[in-house]
């Protein structure tokens, strides 16, 4: 039951994102477009690249999808609406997200093409840098909640949402989330204008459909995470908890899309440089501040 609900949320979210994305790019609002696209992908032949690493080529899209779903599994959408509320939920999310990297390296190496390979290795640097900005803000929220239970983290924000309590952490986490879902402006692994699609350049048909779905679900998962860690999760007046989770999650997801819509792709040198030289020190500072707040403010 819970599982079904969570999966449904993910799918609906993914569909909505796809619609909005198409709206932004083509300028026309067509609710059926994503479904049509999916259907036509299913109907088209899926080509296997020449002399691929079959294993990786096939595994990568599936792994990405699994990772996205697993990530969502530990995020409570409502007090009782969570697949597994692990005692180390916050850490588990990080662990799962680290496997996005594995999936992309597979997708990059598998097709045995230059564009894909460059894209895959690019993401290595990107994720290692930006997973710092995922881990550290989450650490700060866990510090406030004095627990790694995601539900506990949500409840800890009852009085004051973390976005107010630790705005710095929120900003960093939001940016890192976009980078981790490799959406524009952080879409270096699949840079259409630079690598002609990069990691998904060689994918067609069903595999491509899975890959696209996985990337959308990934955005939803990360938005849900943002909601849980910084936007007070399911908390809110009047509406039922799940509704609040849904609204907040979608709002975050759409804002992620919009950021990509209005910004050009970032330079790779800046991508790494800013993260290591600016982002991570700020993240540490954030942890420090939160620590002080916890000690000082009763």
């Amino acid at each position: 039951m819970t599982v079904a609900l969570v999966l449904l949320t993910l799918l609906v979210g993914a569909w909505l994102l796809a619609v909005i994305e198409a709206w932004l790019t083509t300028g026309r609002l067509r609710p059926v477009a994503p479904l049509l696209a999916g259907l036509s992908h299913l109907g088209r032949e899926s080509i296997l690249a020449r002399k691929p690493d079959r294993l990786f080529f096939e595994t990568a899209p599936v792994l990405l999808l699994v990772v996205a779903v697993l990530g969502a599994a530990v995020l409570p959408l409502a007090p009782d609406l969570v697949i597994a509320d692990l005692a180390t939920g916050a850490l588990f999310l990080n662990a799962v997200l680290a496997y996005v990297l594995v999936s992309l390296i597979m997708a990059g190496w598998g097709p045995n093409g230059a564009y894909a390979m460059v894209g895959g290795w690019r993401f290595l640097g990107q994720l290692i840098a930006y997973s710092m900005l995922i881990v550290m803000p989450i650490t700060a929220t866990a510090m406030r909640a004095e627990s790694l239970l995601n539900s506990a983290i949500v409840e800890s924000q009852a009085g004051l949402w973390n976005i107010v309590y630790q705005p710095l952490g929120f900003v960093l986490f939001f940016i890192a989330a976009i980078a981790l879902a490799f959406r524009s402006p952080f879409d270096l692994p699949t840079a259409p204008g630079e690598l002609a699609g990069g990691v998904d350049a060689e994918y067609t048909g069903v595999r491509l459909a899975v890959l696209r779905l996985a990337r959308l679900v990934m955005v939803i998962t990360l938005s849900a995470a943002t909601t849980v860690f910084f936007l007070g999760g399911w908390q809110g007046p009047l509406l039922p908890p799940w509704a609040w989770s849904l609204i907040k999650t979608l709002a975050v997801a759409v804002s992620m899309l919009l950021v990509g819509f209005y910004l050009p792709r970032i330079r790779e040198a800046d991508l790494l440089g800013w993260c290591w030289k600016l982002g991570i020190p700020l993240a540490l500072l954030n942890i420090l501040i939160v620590g002080l707040l916890i000690l000082v403010v009763p």
Partner: protein, 684 residues
């Protein structure tokens, strides 16, 4: 109109079942098309694909429709065939204006170059897809261009190239297949790979398809937006090239000499493998050597059998080492052993120093394999028709050069002046008006006509309008390159409005243009992305147009023009000379041109004025959107006999090599893009 083609050229085999009908309709209702030569050309022709309910696909993998705009040159034609082969079925071909390329199957739908025709063609195409996406008997697409000859190379010694599989005579590694260009036979290799393929294809009817995809993969390195395969070979090839150009020529034949001599007695050697000639030495401590097997007194490792001449090889250093390999492997070859077995771990060790010592060093001083990757001619984010070949070292570009696949050849067969004007204009899809004007002026000048102010006004206005449109097109292209969707949409929309606008409409567009520019100058990340990129080496000669003016040169043909002085034109120039400065410069020019149009009045397409004396030699210069172009022509009795065109892009394309060298991939592409090259205006 080829309504004859009832089944799509690229339809998938299979009876039209219910599900397939759905799929067909789904396909029909979201047409994603790969535009050849490129989206910017479609825009320049005033085609609005979004209005026709078509999505522009970045890669052939993602496209359903191959949309061909205008005539293609021979080279581009071949590249297109490869792109088409890369598109998954069902797929369709839509040709707008011009004939279907010879190397492609017949077009499913073809129409003229106009928005209305496009809309109407799109609906026809949708009907076609909805009905015939799955045909009972689709005709195959297989072209000689897609054939590839398979040859076998040693990953370590790229100079070793055999026709049949085997092992490297030098190091004994298994040779690996790679495709050689040329259209002889697509070796068995391809075919067994096919079977591998459709073994797991989702459908059961894929033989020819996967085969075809093999073929096109074979040409990835040469063509289009295809993906280079087997990087390993590819880069070994590359550092091999480095070898040769450096000191290795002599070395090679000397090695070959060794090959022969060794192969002779390699035979009895290997048969007499275990005989008394063999010494046993410790792999870690070469000084430990004895005649019977045992373990090393120092490290206790098992001693390993070596032949005397081998460890001389070891002592004398690596090249000998190399022969030693080759030697005992050739021995094994004669016995027909395979190489996966133990003989590697005893003596088959291949020196990495040997392999890496001649590699070019990358910027960080590590010897890395280099990888030669083609970008273009139909690459999203590069102007269509431009082929950029970059040698990648990881994510950095070590060298690269650009070639135009659609370069115009100023062949001088006699043509009537009118036809000449039309041809020249048609040959430059990105700046037709400028070249029409250029031709008209040259001919009139040859005919000894004085410029007529009334006409010149209209012409100047038309030229400036085209400049605005062209710069907007460049902005859209920049947006495509940086996946800056908002910019792409906005600039493209404005470009379409500008193209056909008269004075009032243009004036009405001013606020829109201003806001676009203001917004771009304050877009976060954009400045960081462009600043300092693509700065030209000092003293790079003969820059023109915005590129020149962005680096502070006062280079503008309009200054010399009486009409422009009358219109009160004064040139404004940036100074930094990087991509950001070029962006700013184009912004400035858009506004300047707008002012000029406002003063000059309604644009009029240049038409040839009445000529009384149809003979003589004339020369004219026009500041095209990309810079000064000069046309020199001779005409006799209304026939153009000799033509000489000197355009900006033929100068700028030479700069690419300097711009990309040592840059990161992204920066290199931005730098190339910032030049706003138009491959058509490159004179071969």
């Amino acid at each position: 109109m080829s309504e004859a083609a009832t089944t799509l050229a690229g339809a998938r085999k299979g009876r039209p079942s219910i599900l397939r009908r759905w799929v067909g309709q789904a396909l029909a209702r979201n047409l994603s098309c790969l535009v050849v030569p490129g989206p910017e050309v479609a825009l320049a022709h005033g085609l609005d694909l979004a209005a026709a309910d078509m999505r522009i696909a970045a890669t052939p993998r993602d496209a359903t429709v191959l949309l061909i705009v205008g005539e293609l040159s021979q080279k581009l034609d071949e590249a297109t065939a490869v792109l088409y082969a890369q598109m998954p079925r069902p797929r369709a071909i839509l040709v707008l204006g011009g004939s279907a390329p010879s190397s492609l199957p017949q077009a499913d739908v073809s129409a003229d170059l106009s928005q209305t025709e496009l809309m109407e063609a799109a609906t026809r195409l949708q009907r076609l897809l909805a009905e015939d996406a799955f045909a009972a008997s689709p005709d195959d697409f297989d072209s000689s261009i897609l054939q590839a000859k398979t040859e076998y190379v040693c990953p370590m010694h790229p100079e070793v190239v055999e026709d049949e599989p085997g092992s490297c005579p030098k190091c004994g590694m298994d040779l690996v297949a790679r495709e050689a260009g040329g259209d002889s036979d697509a070796g068995e290799h391809d075919h067994d790979h096919d079977h591998e393929h459709h073994g797991h294809e989702h459908d059961h009817d894929h033989e020819h398809e996967s085969e075809e995809h093999d073929h096109h993969h074979a040409h990835h390195n040469d063509h289009g937006q295809s993906h280079e395969h087997h990087h390993d070979h590819e880069h070994h090839q590359n550092h091999k090239r480095a070898h040769d150009h450096e000191q290795h020529q002599g070395d090679d034949d000397h090695e070959h000499a060794h090959c022969h001599e060794h192969e002779d007695h390699g035979h009895q050697q290997s048969t007499a493998q275990e005989q008394s000639g063999t010494e046993y030495i410790c792999p870690m401590h070469p000084e430990i050597r004895q005649n019977e097997p045992g373990s090393c007194p120092k490290c206790g490792m098992d001693l390993e059998p070596h032949k005397p001449e081998e460890d001389e090889g070891v002592r004398e250093g690596v090249p000998e080492h190399d022969h030693e390999h080759h030697h005992d492997h050739s021995g094994h070859d004669h016995d027909g052993h395979d190489h996966s077995d133990h003989d590697h771990d005893s003596s088959g060790f291949m020196s990495m120093v040997e392999v890496t010592k001649d590699l070019p060093r990358s910027a960080d001083g590590l010897a890395m394999d280099w990888l030669e990757v083609p970008f273009g001619p139909c690459f999203p984010g590069l102007p269509g028709g431009l082929k950029l070949t970059l040698t990648l070292d990881g994510d950095g570009v070590t060298e690269g050069q650009a070639t135009s696949l659609v370069a115009m050849n100023t062949s001088s067969e006699e043509v009537a002046v009118e036809t000449f004007i039309e041809r020249l204009a048609a040959a430059m899809p990105l700046a037709p008006v400028s070249y029409r004007l250029l031709a008209c002026r040259a001919i009139e000048q040859a005919a000894g006509l004085e410029p007529d102010p009334a006409v010149e006004r209209g012409r100047a206005a038309a030229l400036e309008r085209e400049r605005i449109a062209s710069h907007l097109g460049w902005l859209a292209q920049l947006g495509r390159q940086l996946s800056f969707v908002w910019l792409t949409r906005r600039a493209a929309a404005l470009q379409l409005e500008t193209q056909r606008a008269d004075r009032e409409q243009l004036v009405a567009l001013r606020p829109a243009l201003q806001s676009l520019i203001a917004r771009l100058e304050h877009t976060p990340l954009l400045k960081a992305r462009l600043k300092g990129i693509g700065a030209l080496p000092h003293g790079s000669q003969d820059l023109r147009g915005p590129v020149a003016r962005a680096s502070g040169r006062t280079e503008d043909a309009r200054q010399a023009d009486a009409m422009y002085r009358e219109l009160g034109f004064e040139m404004r120039a940036e100074s930094a000379g990087d991509a950001w400065a070029r962006l700013r410069q184009r912004h400035v020019e858009i506004m300047t041109s707008l002012d000029l149009v406002e003063v000059a009045g309604d644009p009029e397409l240049p038409k040839l004025r009445a000529i009384d004396n149809p003979s003589g030699t004339g020369e004219a210069t026009v500041e095209t959107p990309r810079g000064r172009a000069t046309l020199r022509l001779t005409q006799e009795r209304g026939q153009v006999v000799s033509v000489e065109l000197d355009s900006a892009c033929s100068q700028h394309i030479g700069l690419v090599a300097d711009l990309v060298e040592g840059q990161e991939l992204g920066d290199a592409l931005v730098a190339v893009g910032s030049l706003d090259l138009s491959p058509w205006e490159v004179t071969s």
